[in-house]
Every structure is written in C-alpha cells, then in structure tokens.
Symmetry: C2
C-alpha cells in the first residue's frame, strides 16, 4: 500500500536540483493580455470599474458571459493565497473546514421561508425527478439541517465552528463592475453554534477579531460598520467595506464617537450630526467584502437544530454566520489600491512578489542571462520569496516593454538584469512598484534588501 | 500598504510556542460518527457500498439527500491532500491551474450538439432573463470558447495545458454507492491544446505519465484500459480503474499481450481468448477514477478555436482532455483497500498519519499525559509528520475504545501512552493499522522508526 514509487521521487529530485526550471517563466504563462472584445466587458462604459478593466486587460480574469468570470493562472494564484490566509485565521479561531454540496434541497429553503423572500436572485434548479433545488447563495439551511441530524449533539460539542470556501450563486438583475457584482463568486462562509446567547456573543467577538486580522494582513484600508441583517436575519450584524468611489453602499462614520453604520440602517441619512454624540458625520462609499451576523435561533428553530444541555434537556443552538467574498476581496483590493494605469496588489496576495527581467536577445548584455537564473535561485532561497518569483524570459521584447507590463500586472518588485550587470561589480535595478522607486544594488545588497521584506 | 499588524504576528508566535495547542484534538473535531438515519444512506441495502458505509459511519462524509454528500473536516483534509498531490504532478507536466465558472452558457453546448446528446444527466438552468445554462459536468465547451477569443493565439503559445479542480454535476437517474456514483462531485479536468496531431499525441503521452505517477503515488492497485470515447468523443481514450466487486465497468485483461480494454468496446465480451495474441483473457470489475481522451478537433472545429502557425496561417488547435474524479478516488480507494470493519487509507492521503492516545482519566497512568504532548511535538518535528498528528484526548473513554475507533477511522499509525510509559525507560505501543502489528518502543526508538517512514 505504501509502495511509493522511487523512480518518481528521483525524477522530482532531479528537477529540484535544476531549480530555476521550477520558477515560472512568462513565456509559458497563459496570460491573455488586452485582447478583450468590447461585448465581453459589458456594453455600457459606466458599468466598467477600474478593477474590471485592469484585471481583464492584464489577463488575471476573463469575462465569460453576463456577470461570470474565469480565473486565469495568475488570478487562480491570488485566490489560492487568499484561501491560505483565510484558512490560517480560521484555524486560529478553532474553525474546521468542510465542504457542503452546491445544491441545497428546495424544501429546506421553503421551511425557513427564504424560498420566497430571496426573490429572483435565487437560482432554482429541478432534477429529472422534478425535485426542487437551490444553487446555493449561502448555506444556513444546509448546515443547520445537517447538524440537526446529529441526534446526540451535546453541550460538550459546543462551541462548534464550521466553514467552507466554495462557489456561490446570485442571479443579479444587472451584473456590473466585474467581480464586484457578478452571478457566480467564491465565498468563505463560516457557521457557528453555541449553547446560549452569551456564548454566541463571545464567539462573535472572537470571529470579529479574526476578521480584523484578515483585513489588517491584507493591508487595504477597511471600514467596519453596523450592518443591515436583511434576508439573512438575526439580531445584529457588522459589515467590512473597502472604500471605492463606485461603491454600492453609503457608509456613515461619526468623527465624534466613532460609531459607523450603513446608511440603509438610518432613517434619515441626510443628518450631518450623530444622533448619540452630536459629532460630525462623514460619508463614504464602499464595497462590502465581509459580513458577520449574530443569528440567534432564526435557522435552528424552523429546522429544529438542538443539543442536549448539562441537565439532559434539549435546547436550540444559538448561531452566527460570517461571510467573506473571496473573489470580491481580490477585485475590491485592486479597485481600492490601483491607479488607472496599473494594478497594485496587497503584498500578501500578489500573484508573484518578484518579476525578474533579463537582457534582450542580441543586445550587448545578452550573455548575462545566467544572472537571471542565479538571482532567481538565490532570492528564491529567502523563505518569503520561495516559489514567488516569475521570470520574464521573453527576450525578443525590450526591457522597457517588459518593465511596463510587469508594472501594470502589479508585481511588487521588478528586478532588471541590464547594462549595469556587466560592470566589474555587477549591479541590478530594483523597481519598487508602489513607490516607483528605482535602486541599483549589487547581488549582496539586493539579497539584504529583500531579506528585510 | 504593507502595514502587516505585528500584534497578530505576536499572537501567532505565542500560539506556535505552545505547539501542542496546534495539533488537532479529537475532543474538538467535528466527526459525526455512526448517527445516520436509515433514510439518509439509501433505502436499499444492495445500493450501499463498503466505502459509503465506512465513510458515513466514521464521520468522513455525510449524505445530503439523494446522491449528494457533504465532506466533514476529516474528509475535507483528504480532499486537500489529494488536491495537493494532483497539483504537484500537474505542475511537473507544465499544466497551469485556473478556474472556470460552474455555469456554462447553453448556446455553447448547443453548438457542439451535447445539449441534446448528453440526455437527462445534464442539469439545465435558466436565469431570470430566460437564458439557458448548463450546470457543467465537464468544460470542453467552456474552455475552448474562452480560448477561441484569444485572437492572436500563436504557435508560440502551444502546447498549452490548463486545468482546474471544481465541483461537477450529473443528474444520475439512480445515484448509488455513495460518492462512487453521485450527483455532485469534485473533478480535476485538464484541457490540452497543440499545433498538430503528433504534438497532441506527445502531450497525451506526457499526461499519461503524470497519471501513472499520480496513481502510483496513491498506491492503490489500478488497471489502465482502452476506453470508450462515449459522449466526450475523440479518436481514442484510456481509463484508469480501481478494482471493486461492485464496479460499474467490466475490464478485459489479456494475460498474453497485456492489452486491456473496457468490455464496452468489445463486440463479443464473452470471448475468453485475446483476438490479437490468443492469450487468456481475465475479467475484472472496476470503478473508473481517471479518463484521458485524445480529442482532435471535435470541439475546436464547431467552436472555431484556431491559432496562427509559423507561416501566418490559422489552423484549428488539436485537443486532449483528462479527468480525475477527485471525490471518487477518495471513495474508490477506501472501497479497494478497506475491510468491512475499518477504513484503510492510501498513506499519502490519510487524514492524519498518526493518532496518539493518552491515558484514561482517573487511571494509575493519568499523570503521564504530558508524554502525549511531548511525543506530539517531537514526532511533529519529523517533516513527513508535521501537522499530520491527531490526539485522541477524550480521556473519559478507555484506551481500548479509542484504539478501536482510531483503527476504524484508518489512521495508519496509532500510538498509545499507557502503563508501559511509567516504566524506568518509558515505552509506548505503536500499532500499525494495515498489519495490525503492535510494537513497544522507547521514545528514541519510536522517532527512529517513524523517521524511516
């Protein structure tokens, strides 16, 4: 059973010896740049956001019909990094990863009433036996129904925290702004189960801390506001927003007491002073990237999800649910950080942290190409850059053209092996994408500089 | 932008200091054991396979209605390990990971004719504007249509190899055998694009080698046979099967020339002698876990997917497609390896490699619990066991009961901290699950033994 094939291990060993074969080369990368037909990006100019334009132009995503997107290899890498980051923080808060089916039985949504209340955004499917399903936009019904089958669920099993990262569906009437408002999207959804309200609130606070950590690590300025419970329900909720001029939501932030709220929750949103402290209210637009809800028994009651308490009696579980729009974070971060001319990625989710550009074929420096591999190997031996370097080996293109493209794609650091590499002490240009700062470094200086990042 | 919050880093640092908090403890694991209602596993006894029974009984998966399953935390871990293994081998063969939408426009499936030919197994969906979609069982149409938009696709971009791992859908008339034949499943699908047939065949051979590597590393005996191209089409195909008494397919294997074929391809499958060499034919039943197809231009022709060749002319791309049923591999491996009483996992995808069981509360050895943490930390420092240890800390249960459960769940190694740990030179029981072999080891001997695994 454990007859691991050593020939394969050897094969892999050899390939690791020639390490630079392992680093991604742009000549081999599928990155369909700038080749969009006008139909594909949406017909009305005003519906196109900066992020959509840049992400499509740079071959990070491809539009696939109205409100749907395919993730190209660079986009897939960003999603994988986002997923890893979220997984780390979910683990720290004791949440366990699982995977529920995309399809949820319609009868569960009828039991909670959401079959009707969700409206046309809910995608309904029938199987060959005419049974109703929902192409799930969220999984409260599914997870509660599953848990309600665990007949001997006891207070000892609580608190319980289960989450998944999977595709969700919403039949938007007017999909727009690319990934920011589309029909199919990647979402992290966490569901928590507690014995009583006090414990559920403690869970809510812990998860909120994890959310703060996630958004702080992403490094995009974010606003947390009291939110509307809407069709999800429950007693209160908070939203996490990335600021954006084209944001769907208007957020009111009191400069006095710091209370922040989605304008949907306020009866008179034109009020310029805070109703509790009288402070001045600032208004800003944002895109919701996360939402946390204290649910109470809104779902455990109709779906009868109970546990046995210390006295042997059964009580309904107290719930919370917590979403992060994974593909939306990708787009909203680009929307918040980028200029019109180029993407800027949050450091922790940049598709590659370093792009190394070698000399042009036929130039005087063409014989310096070996530096590219040497730099790749030595920088790649720094842990935080391991597997995070891409080489632009398209040596029929000028260095200038490749630097432009690397800047637009948003690699945080661009290293150029050019003329200066032929000096007695070879030096290399390091371009910091955010600041546009260019520095000339020897190999040792370069490694020292990057080790500090 | 890079204002990584150091408070978080510190918090994580502290948690890593107390490393054993980080290892999973069964008291905190959501593993709903043995609590299935009869309805949920299917009403007819003959439709329940060994794998389905064991996977549900051990809380690895949960049935969610007819032909659908949720993956519990242990199941999710197995899927993640399978995904990593496949990702590694795909990378070695130069395939790039991407993600296509689950929904594919119906008009593409109409263009290739599969809207009709797929029959009732195809799940069709309409959006609010009455537009047709397919809940994709496979993505030939989607990927070819996407590529056909890349107007300046050139011979320099070929060969191109794109894959994804995502949920697929098939509206089975009679879902059965759990994950082996269900409505929603996880599949890895790779699509390859080449300039001409010779190059496409070379790609086919390279991918076949990757498939051999994947199945060899999994270590479950597998049979590779010539397959039926069916509704996917193309000029030839090969299937990878795991043997199973309840297998859907009958495989004919010639003991003479070694030619193996799915009986679907043979006009007279009762023939006991090979038509080419006269050798004796053995028959075996199997479950298909992988399928590779040389497609030619079956999809690039109707969807007009062409590239510019060296002479500046446009030619249709030559395709291949290659599937691995990821969730099916999980179930079929359990089906092939397990006994009626307990799961046996392929070593590389076992949810945890080691389960450590501590003394019972109130027993003479109760004071030896610190050994559990010490063993966990030291074994965890061996690279191949890092993050792959689970502690059964349910100390109100006897050691015997916990060993039984650990055996059934299929952890390859079970370590018991019991009476012998109180001797002058403390010793620990190591149970090898496959062989049922029990050895007594000192701490040093235990580490030496496991380092060799």
């Amino acid at each position: 059973m454990m007859n691991y094939n050593f020939a394969i291990r050897r094969k892999r060993g050899i390939q690791i010896l020639f390490r630079h074969f392992y680093h991604k080369r742009i000549s081999q990368l599928f990155q369909p740049i700038n080749i969009i037909s006008k139909d594909a990006t949406g017909k009305k100019e005003e519906l196109v956001s900066i992020s959509q334009k840049l992400l499509v132009d740079c071959g990070i995503v491809r539009p696939r019909g109205n409100g749907m997107f395919a993730f190209m290899p660079l986009g897939q890498r960003v999603l994988a990094k986002l997923t890893d980051l979220i997984d780390e923080e979910m683990k720290l808060v004791g949440a366990q990863k699982m995977l529920l089916p995309t399809l949820t039985s319609g009868h569960l949504w009828k039991k909670t009433g959401r079959w009707k209340t969700t409206g046309d955004e809910l995608v309904k499917v029938k199987d060959r036996h005419d049974k109703d399903y929902v192409l799930s936009p969220t999984h409260e019904e599914a997870v509660v129904d599953m848990l309600s089958e665990v007949y001997h669920l006891s207070y000892r099993n609580l608190p319980l925290r289960l989450y998944q990262i999977s595709s969700k569906f919403r039949d938007e009437a007017n999909p727009r702004f690319g990934l920011l408002r589309c029909k199919e999207f990647l979402m992290k959804d966490l569901y928590t189960f507690d014995q009583d309200e006090a414990s559920a609130i403690s869970t809510y606070d812990q998860v909120s801390e994890a959310y703060n950590a996630i958004f702080q690590r992403l490094g995009v300025p974010f606003v947390k506001v009291a939110g509307d419970c809407g069709n999800i329900g429950g007693s209160f909720s908070h939203e996490y927003h990335y600021p954006a001029a084209i944001g769907q939501d208007t957020l009111l932030i009191c400069n006095g007491c710091g209370y922040s709220v989605n304008s949907e929750l306020v009866s008179d949103s034109n009020n310029t002073n805070c109703s509790s402290c009288g402070g001045v209210i600032t208004t800003t637009k944002g895109f919701e990237v996360g939402h946390t809800f204290l649910l109470g028994t809104k779902y455990s009651d109709p779906l009868n999800c109970s546990y046995q308490n210390e006295n042997g009696r059964r009580s309904l579980v107290q719930m919370g649910c917590y979403g992060i729009g994974v593909s939306r974070v990708l787009a909203a971060a680009v929307e918040a950080l980028s200029s019109e001319t180029g993407i800027r990625w949050p450091w922790v989710i940049a598709p590659y942290k370093v792009c190394i550009i070698g000399p042009k074929r036929g130039s005087k420096e063409a014989n310096l190409t070996s530096w590219v591999h040497f730099l790749t190997d030595t920088i790649g031996s720094i842990k935080s850059f391991q597997d995070d370097i891409i080489i632009d080996d398209r040596d029929t293109f000028t260095i200038g053209k490749r630097v432009m493209e690397a800047k637009k794609t948003g690699y945080p650091f661009i290293i150029v092996v050019g003329k200066k590499a032929s000096e007695l002490v070879p030096r290399f240009e390091l371009i910091e994408n955010i600041t546009n700062n260019v520095q000339l470094f020897s190999h040792v200086q370069l490694l020292d500089f990057l080790r500090g990042k």
